[in-house]
Symmetry: C2
């Protein structure tokens, strides 16, 4: 009998994802004890006790603010996410709400719902009332996109297709995303330039210390008068007080956000949606499939793809015997590991050692099995966070 | 002093359009008496007395249901419209509301507006409530487009760009529109085929006897279960009773319409907008400019572009003296006109005679001015509806 992996789910996960766990090798469910892995969506993990058995956490989604990433890093546990799986879902919502704002659709719908009387009365009221909802069209308008990851790139390209001018900013754009980005998107030198031109502004950045309050009072003040601001990233990236002040004066005409709060819900010029950015069946399926694939690749092969706290680490497996070692990113770890193996007379066939910030991840393929003692010796090296012998592949 | 044209406006017309009337040659306003032309948007002209002085009517918009077209045709008066001027505005509204329906945004917005309590309460309610608004994404879904005029083509092309499959139907598509249509749009053999595949259905046809009740009970019954139906054309193209029955059973999941009525406003699965299809500043400007250009071209040169009841008739003017004749489309009209001119010894330099249905339009450029008597003789020919001597061009 082969080893079985135990996966604890903390949220409902789309069945298309769960179906990718082979039943004979995985035990998956909400009640699984001593899990090797945790699979979740928005469940709040901060404050949860981390099981000693845990090797990995995967989120079927992009943001990981509900996961205690640093704590897990310190334990040598990678956290995976599913970036891009929701990109089309968010893109479509951004396009929808740009148009919603441009055409005053929320208020217009509300107006119609208040109409009473005969069909003739209603028709007259419609023709009389429609004037107040006259909007604007997108061609020739300028959209500013802050953050050109999977979502930002999709939004920028789609806006171009709709005839908008698009100006983007992302000092950390990857080659992959830059490649995917239409060459028609103009590059902003900095956020000041971008904001001073963006008649419509949308941000697609992760939420962290460097993006907290990113849309500051100063940046918001640079927007052209009557600008539309969208926030489908995270609540905290905008200085809410400055935003509301700008909405009150009309400096900003409309704020569309996926993050409702008391002050915003009551505001005439704000459209709040209930965190629907990734709320499509497709995004849930894509995210679940991606998260499950991340987990399987790590549990079965030790390979790391799409982790927020670990380096990308993929070593093609040519031998049945693989060790997966996570260690602090300090000197001579590889030397100590290989010495320990050499002392048992085991040859290293392939080795990959990659690091990111304080964490290093090492994959070691051996010509034969390592003995328990050797493994214990490696595990006790100062700085080793975890060591795992993978099930032998057939 | 040159002749002055008098234009009566029956609605507010965008200033960008009005500015195109040269002030020294046009008197334009709401109180103009004995107008040569009427310029309007949605003003109801049925029942209005037609001034004897009237030569032309132009609508700054596409539909002409508010204009007594047959009556005007019988008087030899062309009716102009501005097709395509609103095409982008309608396209954007269609895309917006497809997404609105796909993502349940109207209900979601409503849900958030009902939330109360602290920001923490609201955040919890958002995460708990968002499940009910999970939607679907557009790529791979099939959009059916009935009517491939200026608007239908724009909608079809935009939906393709968003990754949809698009199937279109228009037995009368023009070469110009077919050219403009992306080759990725599939052609439906008939409406049955189109409706049996359209997960989302939108119609962009004029309203007339052949499109009244076009979306019949039979066609609606062919739609895939849970289809979304949009109507930004005209209220009467859909069998409303059959539609509501299909909404009640869930056969159709959502109806989005620009034409509210009592039964629809109260229905949970209907989103009514107050006739906003063309309600953008750009569409109003484009329509006004197009309508004014139509009128000027006709009043100053007798040329006909974008008329709903007259044939396209454009003759480059090489002589100062031009007659504009409208006549019933019966045999030998041109012969009688040229005979009358020949009898006065006036040479015809250029002549264009084109017809559409019961109306023929004739432009005659002369080498010299025709005398009053000759004009009267032509005017009295049986079947001549109107004759006009154009101001001499300088």
């Amino acid at each position: 009998m082969r080893d079985t992996f135990r996966v604890l789910t903390l949220n409902n996960i789309a069945s298309e994802g769960l179906a990718r766990f082979p039943r004979d090798r995985y035990e998956v469910g909400e009640e699984v004890a001593n899990p090797h892995a945790i699979l979740l969506r928005s469940h709040e993990m901060h404050g949860m006790e981390i099981p000693a058995s845990l090797c990995a956490v995967a989120r079927a989604g992009a943001g990981v603010n509900n996961i205690p990433v640093s704590k897990l890093s310190a334990l040598g546990i990678p956290v995976f996410n599913a970036p891009g799986a929701n990109a089309n879902a968010v893109k479509e919502l951004v396009i929808a709400t740009i148009l919603l704002a441009a055409r005053n659709l929320a208020a217009a719908w509300d107006y119609v719902r208040g109409l009473e009387g005969t069909d003739e009365d209603i028709a007259r009221a419609v023709e009389a009332g429609k004037k107040q909802f006259v909007g604007f069209e997108l061609p020739g308008r300028t959209l500013g996109v802050i953050g050109l990851g999977a979502i930002g790139v999709e939004v920028a390209n789609a806006a171009l297709e709709l005839g908008m001018n698009v100006i983007g900013y992302d000092p950390n754009i990857t080659v992959e995303r830059a490649w995917q980005l239409s060459s028609g998107v103009e590059q902003a030198a900095d956020l000041d330039v971008l904001c001073s031109r963006a008649e419509i502004l949308t941000s697609h950045v992760p939420f962290n210390d460097s993006t907290r309050g990113l849309l500051s009072r100063e940046l918001l003040a640079l927007l052209p008068k009557g600008a539309v601001v969208l926030n489908f990233a995270r609540e905290g990236i905008v200085d809410k007080e400055a935003l509301i002040a700008a909405l009150d004066t009309g400096a900003i005409s409309t704020y569309v956000t996926d993050f409702p709060s008391r002050l915003l819900i009551g505001h005439d010029n704000v459209i709040c949606l209930p965190h629907l950015g990734a709320s499509t069946r497709e995004a849930e399926e894509n995210s679940a499939v991606m998260a499950v694939e991340n987990l399987r690749e790590f549990l079965e092969n030790g390979n790391i793809r799409r982790s927020v706290n670990f380096p990308e680490a993929v070593l093609r497996r040519t031998r049945p015997h693989r060790l997966v070692i996570t260690n602090a990113n300090v000197p001579n770890m590889v030397g100590q590991v290989s010495t320990a193996l050499a002392e048992e007379g085991i040859n290293i066939a392939d080795l990959l050692n990659v690091s990111k910030d304080n964490v290093a991840h090492t994959l070691v393929d051996l010509d034969g099995p390592a003995g328990k003692e050797t493994l214990q010796r490696i595990g006790s090296i100062d700085g080793i966070l975890s060591i795992r012998v993978l099930p032998i592949i057939e």
